[in-house]
């Protein structure tokens, strides 16, 4: 993963099955075509409490067609069959818990998933799933929260892969927080934004190794995949311009 971050990464987020599995495959392949080297895939959940309205609606669209976890993972397999792009899975904890942490870890390892982000699994509760994933060579990625400097050292201690700062606070607090994280960890740092223009990306570029965009590539409507993926190229250039 560290090698991947030798260049700064623009990381698109997609909800699997929004609005259908075929669209997800086409969108992700178009994002790869547009230059993305790391892509996040969200497993749809009935109650995505940590997400904003756009992503919540994407989850609902995906589940409206009765998409099962097995079908969602088969969609990841379909992407994997056509591309070796690095993939990170985002899921609420109940999905792997009900699947069985170890069985889930084995399944995602077989799909060559690099890491997993679980928004509702804080450090204090993470050990069991982290161990299951580690046995199968998959990283449980760590989210570092805002304005909690007293927790940074604890939270990053077991971290692997890369760190996500979420939600991203405005400067100068974000800059101070990132400096504090750097002091505690050598891992690449990625910030999470709903959307961003080139000016925002350029302002953040000196601070981080990557930017996740959670809403830019969520559309739901039947949009041409190439059109939907187009911001990848432009924003990636902005990120890497320095």
């Amino acid at each position: 993963m560290t090698k991947l971050f030798a260049t700064k990464q623009l990381i698109p987020f997609n909800v699997i099955g929004d609005p259908n599995p075929a669209a997800t495959v086409a969108n992700v392949l178009a994002q790869v075509q547009a230059g993305a080297q790391l892509i996040e895939l969200g497993l749809p959940f009935s109650d995505p409490v940590a997400d904003g309205p756009a992503v919540k609606a994407a989850n609902q669209r995906a589940l409206r067609g009765q998409l099962t976890v097995a079908q969602a993972l088969a969609t990841v397999a379909a992407i994997r069959a056509q591309s070796n792009v690095a993939l990170v899975l985002v899921t609420y904890v109940n999905i792997p818990f009900v699947y069985g942490f170890d069985a889930f870890a084995a399944r995602v390892a077989a799909l060559d998933i690099t890491g997993i982000i679980v928004p509702d699994l804080p450090h204090e509760e993470a050990a069991e799933f982290r161990d299951s994933l580690a046995r199968h060579g998959v990283d449980l990625l760590t989210i570092v929260g805002p304005a909690s400097p007293e927790r940074i050292a604890t939270v990053v201690a077991p971290a692997r892969g890369f760190l996500t700062v979420s939600p991203a606070l405005p400067q100068p607090i974000l800059g101070q927080e990132i400096a504090a994280i750097r002091a505690a960890s050598d891992l690449p740092i990625v910030v999470n934004l709903p959307t961003a223009d080139t000016a925002t990306i350029q302002a953040l570029a000196p601070l981080v190794e990557g930017i996740q965009l959670t809403e830019t590539f969520v559309s739901g409507a039947a949009v041409d995949p190439g059109e939907l993926a187009r911001p990848v190229t432009e924003l990636r250039q902005a990120l890497q311009a320095l």
Binding site: S46, F97, D120, A147
Partner: protein
Amino acid sequence: MTEKVDNRFGMYGGQFVPEALMPELIRLQDAFEACKHDDDFQREFHRLLNDYAGRPSLLYYAKNMTEDLGGAKIYLKREDLNHTGAHKINNVIGQALLAKRLGKTRLIAETGAGQHGVATATIAALFGMDCEIYMGKQDTDRQRLNVYRMELLGAKVVPVTDGQGLLKDAVNAALADWAQHAADTFYVIGSAVGPAPYPAMVHEFQSVISKESRQQILQVEGRLPDAIVACCGGGSNAIGSFADYLDKPSVKLYGAEAAGQGLASGKTAATLELGSDGIFHGMASKFLQNQDGQIAKVYSISAGLDYPGIGPEHAALQASGRATYVGITDEEAVQAFEYIARKEGIIAAIESSHAVAYTEKLAKTMTPDQIIICTLSGRGDKDVAQVANYRGVDLHD
């Protein structure tokens, strides 16, 4: 920071929230642990319970029901007589005092039937705090009277249209608000659910119900009861009714949950009978969910019981066999609503009527020398229109 507190009830409980909320939960946990042994806090809490909420609540011998059913002696723990008409105020006073200690100026809450929302709006008015209540759109429609009560008290009521527009969706919206505004906002959770320390806090503040009933029954009968019955949605009045008897195995504990149109109907909220282990709303517990872990839709005539989860302590009490949970259908609850009105002259909440329905069944299997305490968690004025509607009576003619 205080020493690490055990967050679990057996295998249930925990703190499954986004990292952004963890610092706030840790501060809350520390404040809660400190308040348990703080004389000033305890004095103020009990002063408000007594002088403002009207405690202790009565333990009333239901002579007519007892004679009619011909079994065990039935006592009713009258939480419906508290200020605001339900047990909810006990917990709200405790949590709002903690909020003040933590320097918060705004209270938010979820509400199903509206009882917890009314209690929160009431204490916010008393303490001069801002207040916003999240309530599912379906619930704002079927509990319009309570919506207006909250507005009268100065709260803003936000109808939640996501999902089914029910209690679960109101909790989602309140959690989202809290994650954004934790700096000045305290989330007053009304049920014995959510991330630690909420289930333990609700247990602590609601345990006044069983502390009183134990003293009261010893005074009148000179012995402990044989059974406690309480209704159970998320489980706040049930855990408060059970708390002081947990270490007395001779006292059987029963929770009446909402079976809706029946356990096999698919239109139900009987989490403990039909649910499976999961992690949601900050806690490991039992949930109504599909085989993938997607949270299921729920149904009950009662807006206070139609929640797809259950407090983690109840899941643990069921697993250990200490408490038993039974489903009561809409029809059985409505019959009990009518029965207790005619027999005892008490209009009980439709939620509490689930407990009354089970008490009727249980009493008949027991003998006259045995004792049941049934908690009436709230009063039923708010439900009159809906029960009339259920019986085909149009009150708007």
